[in-house]
């Protein structure tokens, strides 16, 4: 108890005086003169008749009544407990549901500590205040919006479960701010272990109240699992990191392909060190699982997943007047079979058709790349050219442009076109310089300028970008998703009308061609089955691992810029505890009644303010 809301009510303690007077005053009793009180004095203590009051003797009833009065006075004075409380009448809780919140360094877990903290904040709200709860994992979502029902809010908080992915805090903060009433800032409370990127820290809304959980960084994780294909078969590259800066750890590393052990190794990892190992796995395809037996607070990152799959040879048709850079590039692609032709050929026999400055046919039953085509393919419209276009847009986050530096790109002329439903990778004004789209079961890419009218072939970025683009077009690109939480962009299979996705630890989903699989919060193997109607025509397995960024369990503070307009926490929140005091009062009254009436041998006529006169 930290104080009283109505200290003036303590004056009611003066009621003890009449109670004591009742006990002190002699009871008015009929006088009965008897020969001698000698024999009665043996039965009772003598009381002098000359005094109008009694000396107060130890009396259980009096004691209980005074205790009950004390509880009553305390209840009237409204005791309170000071605790940090929400100052405003709107609370938006952003609950970190990233993978690191599953760590058990804080009993019972970080997520449970976060729930407890959220519960405290909800309890501190004034009646009528609203609560919204945002779960921040890879796909932030609103669990409850502006409810005044505390139970509903608590149920939403309890429903927040840690994922095995990282959290998209930028999206979560956008959601949180969208829940505010315009012109009436809400209290935004972020409950997290601090695992925000530098960019995300910049995006924390000003004035956000931050509650951090987590206590220990000790953790050993598989921070990387890569597989490569060589002439002798597959090779696995494993990284294991000891995040514990104080103790060295010895772990057993095992690799299994389709549940069959292929590698077992014991590794000694120094404090804070990273250990890298590579293993030859042989030619067998299958599902690769790397696991360590570390006993730490976060088990999810002790396993990593990969798929061993041989790439099929790619048959490529290049139609055009001849392009030295392009032909040289295609000849370097391992497993590729390039057919160069100046006249159109049936593209359906190829895995990829490239039309370089030539006229593509109307119908192309294959993935196709159009480079400054003579006639515009289906889906591309427009006319005219743009001279010396300035690059005004680059989709920097697109995997196709990963590690592609276009800062030195210069183009003499490009087609001024529009591509309906396309994704622009590089653009000038409204015209795409490079665009990709999917038509039916086939992917398409459009480059508006001829390679020899730009310096792109001379850029370091050219082979990288070309490899990405060709891989994407043929559906043999590296999986778009590597870690749980990444959306899986499913490369289409010709003829597939629907895709069934089996998701680890959850029920499956059905996707349409071109639709990405967003439900990827769990690490493991995602099985994609391509159906034509009800007939399966292909399968693909995608492996998603626990994101290594979530293995770093260091609790980190989050600095937030103050915002005087946004109500934060008040340290002087007073939570009345009258209910407890009333419960104590009731207990005293019941005890007093039991002592006076209920217990065996209690005086029959005692009442609340009646003295006990046992013989």
């Amino acid at each position: 108890m930290d104080g009283l809301l109505a200290p003036a009510a303590l004056a009611a303690a003066a009621l003890a005086v009449p109670i004591l007077i009742v006990y002190m005053l002699k009871t008015r009793r009929p006088r009965q003169v008897i020969p001698s009180t000698f024999l009665w004095r043996a039965a009772t203590k003598n009381v002098s008749a000359s005094r109008p009051w009694d000396r107060i003797r130890s009396n259980v009833l009096l004691f209980l009544q005074l205790l009950a009065l004390a509880a009553l006075v305390l209840a009237l004075a409204q005791p309170y407990r000071s605790a940090p409380g929400v100052a405003g009448d709107q609370l938006v809780l952003v609950m970190d549901a990233s993978g690191s919140m599953a760590a058990t360094d804080q009993e019972p877990s970080r997520i449970e500590a976060a729930r407890t903290e959220a519960g405290r904040l909800i309890e501190s709200l004034e009646p009528g205040a609203t609560v919204s709860v945002v779960a921040a994992d890879s796909r932030p979502r609103v669990l409850v919006s502006s409810t005044t029902n505390r139970d509903e809010a608590m149920r939403a908080v309890e429903a927040v479960e840690p994922s095995e992915s990282d959290a998209d805090f930028a999206e979560a903060f956008l959601l949180a701010e969208s829940l505010e009433t315009p012109g009436h800032p809400a209290t935004i409370a972020l409950i997290s272990d601090g695992g925000l990127s530098d960019e995300e820290r910049e995006l924390v809304p000003e004035g956000t109240v931050v509650r951090t959980v987590g206590s220990s960084p000790a953790n050993v994780a598989i921070s990387g699992l890569e597989v490569g294909e060589g002439p002798n078969g597959f090779r696995a590259f494993v990284q294991i990191q000891n995040h514990d800066a104080e103790d060295a750890r010895e772990v057993e590393l095992s690799l299994e392909i389709d549940d069959a052990p292929v590698v077992a190794d014991t590794l000694e990892i120094k404090p804070g060190a990273l250990v890298e190992r590579s293993f030859d796995l042989g030619p067998q395809s299958g599902r690769l699982v790397a696991a360590i037996d570390a006993e730490d607070t976060l088990p999810h990152d002790n396993r990593a997943y990969a798929v061993l799959q041989r790439s099929a040879p790619r048959r490529i048709l290049l139609v055009g007047p001849g392009n030295f850079f392009l032909e040289a590039l295609l000849s370097q692609i391992p497993g590729s079979d390039v057919t160069v032709s100046k006249t159109p050929q049936d593209p359906s026999r190829f895995d990829l058709a490239i039309y370089d400055r030539s006229a593509p046919p109307r119908s192309i039953e294959a993935p196709a790349l159009f480079i400054a085509p003579e006639t515009l393919p289906v889906g591309v419209e427009g006319s005219g050219t743009v001279r010396h276009p300035q690059i005004t847009f680059v989709a920097v986050n697109d995997p196709l442009l990963d590690q592609v530096d276009l800062s030195e790109l210069a183009i003499a002329r490009t087609a001024d076109v529009r591509v309906a439903g396309a994704r622009t990778l590089i653009g000038t004004g409204d015209a795409p310089l490079v665009a990709t789209w999917t038509k039916g079961s086939y992917r398409r890419a459009f480059i508006g300028f001829a390679l020899n009218e730009s310096n792109l072939p001379l850029q370091v970025a050219f082979p990288i970008f070309a490899d990405h683009l060709l891989s994407w077009l043929t559906g043999s690109e590296p999986p778009s998703a590597r870690y749980a939480g990444d959306a899986i962009d499913v490369a289409p299979v010709p003829g597939a009308t629907v895709i069934e996705a089996a998701i680890p630890g959850a029920k499956g989903e059905r996707l349409l061609p071109g639709q990405a699989l967003e439900e990827t919060a769990r690490a493991g193997f995602y099985e994609l089955t391509f159906l034509n109607g009800d007939d399966p025509i292909g399968e693909r397995t995608i492996a998603l691992s626990f994101p290594p960024s979530e293995s770093d369990l260091r609790p980190r503070d989050i600095e937030v810029t103050a915002d005087p307009r946004r109500p934060g926490l008040t340290e002087t929140s007073r939570r009345p505890i009258v209910a407890w005091v009333l419960a104590i009062l009731l207990a005293f009254l019941m005890l007093e009644w039991w002592w006076g009436h209920g217990r065996p041998g209690a005086p029959a006529l005692t009442s609340l303010f009646r003295r006990e006169r046992a013989a």
Binding site: K26, T27, R29, P30, R31, Q32, V33, I34, P35, S36, T37, F38, L39, W40, R41, A42, A43, T44, N46, V47, S48, A49, P603, A604, L605, R613, A615
Partner: protein, 287 residues
């Protein structure tokens, strides 16, 4: 009239009985510690000049050639001293009148049979004796004197008995008639006895004192001492009171027995003649 003539006439066939030899001031009908001139032979002793030669045992002289004097038991009168409690506590439920009648009756039957008797009254003024009664007439005078006594005030029995003893009251047979409702009852009984003296305690208590009919919450006021006691009288409390009272009566009787005092619990409801003719006779106080 304290004692009706017909009652007195029925008492005439009773006399005091003493358990121990007593030395009286005058010859009487009770065995004395002295040797005297009764017909009961007691002992011989050597003749010394000056002895009454009529008491020489000549048969012994003839057989043993020794001059021995025959000694006989003396018979003295009994001096009966009755201490009557006349404090306020006795002024309830005919306790005092019962005590006064007993005192008068005992004095009467003593005086009638050659003993002398008097009554000491203890009240607020201390202790004061009645005139001696040595005959029927003087016993009637004593009874009339008793009729004039009114109980009242607070008395101090132990102090009164101390004065009584110093006045030589314990030389004869002493009878205390009291309710003994005082913290000092034991001291009172102790002062009643002296070596060789016989006596009795006639404990007068009313039925209401032994088995109260009071109920509920009461302020019990002590008529004599003036103190008060608050009580809530339930059956349980009254049961405990009765048990304690019985224990007290046993303690008083035991104290009297140890001091060779005859003890008799007397109720105002008792019939006086039955008390004297039956109970006191069986108890050996009268014969």
């Amino acid at each position: 009239m304290l004692l009706e003539p017909e009652v007195l006439s029925r008492l005439e066939r009773l006399s005091l009985a003493t358990r121990a030899r007593m030395t009286g001031a005058y010859p009487g009908g009770h065995r004395s510690k002295r040797l005297g001139s009764s017909v009961d032979f007691a002992d011989w002793r050597q003749y010394v000049p000056g002895d009454d030669y009529r008491r020489i045992d000549y048969q012994i002289y003839a057989r043993l050639d020794r001059l021995l004097i025959r000694l006989y038991e003396a018979e003295d009168e009994v001096s009966l001293q009755i201490v009557l409690d006349a404090t306020l506590s006795m002024d309830f439920s005919r306790k005092f009148s019962t005590g006064a009648r007993l005192a008068g009756a005992l004095a009467y039957l003593a005086a009638l049979h050659g003993d002398r008797a008097r009554v000491w009254v203890v009240d607020a003024n201390g202790i004061r004796p009645s005139p001696w009664a040595r005959s029927r007439d003087s016993a009637i005078v004593l009874i009339r004197w008793l009729e004039e006594v009114q109980p009242g005030g607070s008395g101090d029995l132990p102090t009164a008995l101390k004065r009584f003893a110093s006045a030589g009251g314990l030389r004869g047979m002493t009878v205390l008639i009291s309710d003994l409702l005082t913290e000092d009852w034991e001291a009172t009984v102790r002062r009643l006895t002296s070596p060789g003296a016989g006596g009795a305690v006639l404990h007068v208590l009313a039925r209401e004192e032994l088995d109260p009919e009071l109920r509920g919450d009461l302020l019990l006021v002590d008529a004599e001492a003036g103190g008060a006691v608050e009580v809530s009288l339930s059956e349980q409390v009254l049961r405990q009171y009765r048990e304690r009272t019985k224990a007290w009566l046993r303690a008083v009787a035991e104290t009297c027995r140890r001091r060779n005092l005859h003890y008799e619990l007397v109720s105002p409801d008792d019939d006086l003649e039955a008390l004297l003719l039956v109970r006191l006779r069986e108890g050996g106080l009268v014969r």
